[in-house]
Structures are given as C-alpha cells and as structure tokens.
C-alpha cells in the first residue's frame, strides 16, 4: 500500500491520502465513500450543510479562544478560597514535566505487558502509595472521579452482602456524590437514608438494623469536619453491613488514622489534591481500596506484580475476570478504564513528598485554616457553624445570604468560598471556606478584611 505523504513508507501518524482511500474502496468493492452508507434509507441521510462555522486560521483561532477564556475569572487571577470537593494545592513543576514525557503521555492501555512495563510499574506504585495512605490492603488503578468511585462502592457493597437493603449515608458525604450514587442505584434494590450531622459537624450514627447493607461516612466531611470513624466502624460489623469511607480531600489522611485500621471495608474517593489542579472541575482521579478478601469484587483495573519466564520481576494487569471484556454482563462494573495520566501525576507528587513531606503539607493546611477560621469568626456577625475538629475547610454563618456575600467579595477580587445554599436551601447563610498551603498569611488577612467589609 502506498501513502501520499511519507517516502519511507506508511508513517505512524500520517492521515490517509486520496490514493489510500481509492485502494481501500477497491478492496471493499464500492466506488465511493457514500456507497458505504447505502444501507441507511435515503430519506434519513442528511444531505445539507452541517451547521458548523467555517474553519479559522491558527491566529484567528488563538484570538477567539483567548476571548472565550477571558470571560472567566480564573482562580489564579483572583484570590480564591473555593474547595468543596476540588482543592487548590501547589503542584510542583516537575510533575507536569514528567507526565509530558512521550512514553507516558501517548501510551495506551497496558494490555500487552511485554511492551508496557513502565506504565504498569507506575500504576503498581500508584496503587501501593494509595493503599499505604488509606491503610487498606489493595487499591485499584484509579477511576474517573470520586463520585463514581463512591457510587461503585455502593454497588460493590451490595454484591458483597448478597442482598438488597438500606444504605445509611452521612449528610457530610458530598451532595454531588450522593446524587451520582442515587443515579447508579436507581434500578437496584437499595434505598438510601440520610444520617444528619450534629452541632459539632460530625455524623450522628443511629442504631444499625440488620437490613442495613452499608454505612458511608466522608473523612473529612463535606463541611470540613473530621469524623470519629472509630465509633462508626464499631457499630456496624455486627450486622454484616459494609463500612465505606469516602474521601474528597486526601491530604488530610497524612494526619488521620488510616481507615484500614478502623475497620473500613471499602475506601473510595478522590485524589485530585495530589498532582492535579482544579482545572474547572476536572479531569480527576477517583480510586477504590479494599481488603484482599474482597478483591474479586473490586471494579476497575488492577496492576499486579509477578515474575516472567526468566524469573525477573514484572508487572501485569490482573484478575481480569472482574472486567467487561471477560465477563460482560457479570463484570463488576461497566467501567473498563482508569485516569492513567492524572493518577500518574498523583503518584509522582506523592512520591516526591514522601511520608515526611505529606505530613508537613497537611500540617500547613491545618495551621492556615485554623488561623483563618479564628480571624474570620472574630468578625462581628460571623460565627463558625460547627465546633468539631476540622482540617482545611470550615463553615461560617454569615449575617447575609452567602451567595450575595460571595458576589460582593468577588467584585473586590476575592472569592471567599462556596455558598452552601446551592446544596441545601436551609444553609443559605452558610459559606464553606477552604484554606490550603497555597494561601499566604497576607492572603488570609485580605480575605478577613474583604469579608468583614462586605458583612458590616
């Protein structure tokens, strides 16, 4: 076969030329591309002009995209204290430099182990680091995001207990995660029941009946409060219900007791904080971790360590019978991918930080958020909503609708946080503020000054 482009033969990334098409049509036995669609009734074939604008030149396009981008106030342009499931953290420059290496950036799924050892090892290291952080025995190769990971955890719990029933979940589990899980479970014999948070911001766990199949608590929770996981775990193992711990902010886990030590059956959630920017909400890094005894019910890819025919260590995708391409309808999930590049960024960032660095990072978050809340709660008319321990987020009660306060602060170049009224009409006066290592003391003082001005 000849191509019109490469004198050395078919290039890997060359598009097809007219000669290629002619040759292929000849082999197939039709005279034109249109003939390939002859099985679609003429009346259903679209024959007009596609309603797409004319192509732009490169400089025109760059200008146009710039104009579109300028309609947003990017988080880096304003002083932002937005969190609520997607966090502002510093990603070291070397992370981006490494993930842009061609070997990582362009490689596809490592189904063929012989030519994918680098990718597979990176996935294996990722799994290992996350298992260590969460205190669990095995972690998958990542999933789309925290919300689908938690939804899959519900499905996994249902498979493990082999019966339908009630899932008790905390008001402190991210509202978007709950919405996604409800969508996933809408045709399942599973009912969800909300456990409210108390005045300290922690979940009140009721008595667990034997028709409960799972209990889900988020750590730290949606309000930034640190839950007492020990109490939660103890309550439900007697009835055989599964203890699911959700994560949206994994940085906190450098300081909290690993869920694995507290009897968690499944830990699922989000790792965006490590290695990935907020990027208007994605792409993200979901994950699920569990006990080895449940591994065959874990969805998602799994990289395993093994030895080759010569006894050398190697890596391979394993336990594939859980997956779509082997079991189809009986697979553990219809998802058959992972967010490899984002997970790699997480892995690189975590390994650069190491045990000491990740703790230091967490302590900085804790210290700055503590200072911020102290100063903000001292403002006349503003008070903290909950009195329980918190990590890098906290809720303030304002003397006005939080949405209005946010708009007023934004006019002064500060986004003070997420107004909770959009999730719960009863929390219209509440503002969720996130403070991390990226905020300097001057930044925090500016937040205090601006919010004080708006609320006076």
């Amino acid at each position: 076969m000849t191509t019109t482009n490469d004198p050395h033969g078919p290039g890997r990334y060359q598009p097809l030329g007219p000669d290629d098409r002619r040759e292929m049509l000849e082999v197939v036995g039709v005279g034109s591309l249109d003939e390939l669609f002859s099985s679609i009734p003429a009346g259903l074939q679209f024959r007009g002009d596609l309603p797409v604008e004319e192509a732009m030149s490169e400089p025109e396009l760059i200008r146009h995209l710039g104009e579109l981008a300028a309609t947003n106030g990017p988080a880096t342009g304003m002083l932002s204290f937005l969190g609520a499931g997607c966090y502002p953290h510093f990603v070291p420059t070397h992370v981006d430099a490494l993930i842009q290496r061609q070997e990582f950036m362009t490689s596809y799924t490592p189904y063929q182990a012989e030519i994918s050892q680098g990718t597979l090892q990176a996935i294996f290291e990722f799994q290992t680091l996350v298992a260590m952080l969460t205190g669990m025995e095995v972690c998958n190769a990542s999933m789309y995001d925290g919300s689908s990971a938690v939804a899959e955890a519900v499905l996994m719990a249902r498979r493990l207990v082999r019966r339908g029933g009630r899932v008790l979940w905390s008001e402190g589990l991210h509202p978007a995660y709950r919405e996604v899980a409800e969508t996933y479970a809408q045709h399942l014999d599973v009912e969800f029941e909300l456990m409210p948070v108390d005045t300290d911001g922690r979940t009140t766990i009721p008595a667990i009946d034997d028709d409960v199949i799972a209990v889900i608590v988020q750590q730290p929770n949606f309000f930034g409060v640190l839950e007492d996981l020990r109490a939660a775990g103890a309550a439900l193992h007697e009835v055989g219900a599964k203890f699911i711990v959700a994560i949206t902010e994994p940085v906190a886990w450098a300081l909290t007791v690993p869920a694995g030590e507290l009897g968690a059956d499944i830990v699922a959630g989000e790792l965006q904080s490590f290695g990935n920017g907020q990027n208007y909400g994605g792409p993200l890094v979901g994950f699920m971790a569990t006990r080895m005894e449940y591994v065959r019910n874990l969805p998602g890819r799994l990289a395993g360590q093994t030895v080759d025919a010569d006894g050398r260590r190697g890596f391979v995708l394993t336990l594939a019978t859980r997956e779509q391409h082997i079991r189809r309808a009986k697979a553990t999930s219809n998802i058959c991918t992972n967010t490899a590049l984002c997970a790699l960024a997480t892995c690189i960032h975590l390994s650069s930080l190491g045990r000491t660095g990740v703790r230091q990072l967490a302590l900085q978050n804790l210290a700055k958020a503590t200072y911020a809340r102290q100063e903000l709660a001292a403002i006349d008319g503003i008070e903290a909503a909950f009195d329980g321990p918190f990590f890098n987020e906290f809720v303030l009660c304002l003397p006005m609708a939080a949405g209005e306060a946010v708009d007023a602060c934004a006019a002064n170049g500060v986004i003070p946080g997420v107004p909770l009224g959009r999730f719960d009409a009863q929390r219209e006066h509440q503002l969720l503020v996130c403070v991390t290592e990226v905020h300097t003391r001057a930044d925090i003082d500016k937040l205090v000054q601006t919010l004080a001005g708006v609320c006076s």
Binding site: R296, T321, R327
Partner: protein, 132 residues
C-alpha cells in the same frame, strides 16, 4: 478416555451428580477440567441457597477462561466444599472425587433420572469431539 463413574449422572454442561437418599453431591467432569486448564479460583454458593435446575450456582476460573457452574437439578444447598476455594487445583487433580463442590437436598429426587448416564456422557463427548 478418562474414567466416568457409572454411579454418577451427567449434564451437557459437564457437571456430574451423585445421589444418596435425597442428598446429591455435585462437581465438574474430567472433560471440563481438561478444557478449562489450570483452575485458579472457584466461587461456590452459600449453605441454604436455593438452586434451580439449569441456573448458575457459582463460577470457576482457570488461567485462560471463566465459566459458570450450572445446577444439574433443583434443590437447597446443605454443604459447601470450602477447602476447594483454598486449593482450587484439586479440581484438576481429582475432579470426580476429592473435588466435589457442593451437596444439596433434592427438591425432586426423580429429576436425576432425566440426566445422562456415564455411557451416554461418553457418547456425548465423542459426538462433541467429532464436531470440532
């Protein structure tokens, strides 16, 4: 060809069933284990599970394939061979004896009469082979 005990009855899905009173023992045949290859994992039902003839009651996984296990007749599971889960290779070593999978109380003891005898099964295998 391997030994297929005459006291057992057989199914087209390559399970064997052996009856004593109203309790039946179930496993997979030598042909099945040979086709599957090295067995690495078995998922068995729980005691008390109600099985329906022809419906899957578990799965068996080898290095190259995964397969359902089908209940030869209807009944309730009374015993499950837990050791098999720890040593799945027993299925390759002794499929008709040591590697029994589950025992069940038969809903209808005469249902076994509708299954193949050892000689029927041998003929069935020969015919099957001839088609490949």
């Amino acid at each position: 060809m391997a030994e297929y005990p005459d006291e057992y009855s057989y199914t087209k899905e390559h399970e064997w069933i052996s009856v004593e009173g109203d309790i039946a023992t179930v496993g997979i045949t030598d042909h099945a284990q040979a086709e599957l290859g090295d067995i690495v994992y078995i998922e068995l039902p729980a005691v008390g599970d109600k099985l329906e003839a022809g419906q899957p009651f578990g799965t068996i996984e080898s290095v190259k394939a995964v397969s359902e296990l089908y209940a030869p007749v209807s009944g309730e599971v009374t015993e499950v061979h837990e050791d098999l889960v720890d040593r799945p290779e027993m299925v390759n070593e002794d499929p008709h004896g040591a590697a029994w999978m589950a025992k069940m109380k038969l809903a209808d003891p005469s249902a076994v009469d509708g299954l193949m005898s050892a000689s029927d099964y041998r003929s069935f295998l020969e015919a099957d082979d001839g088609e490949h």
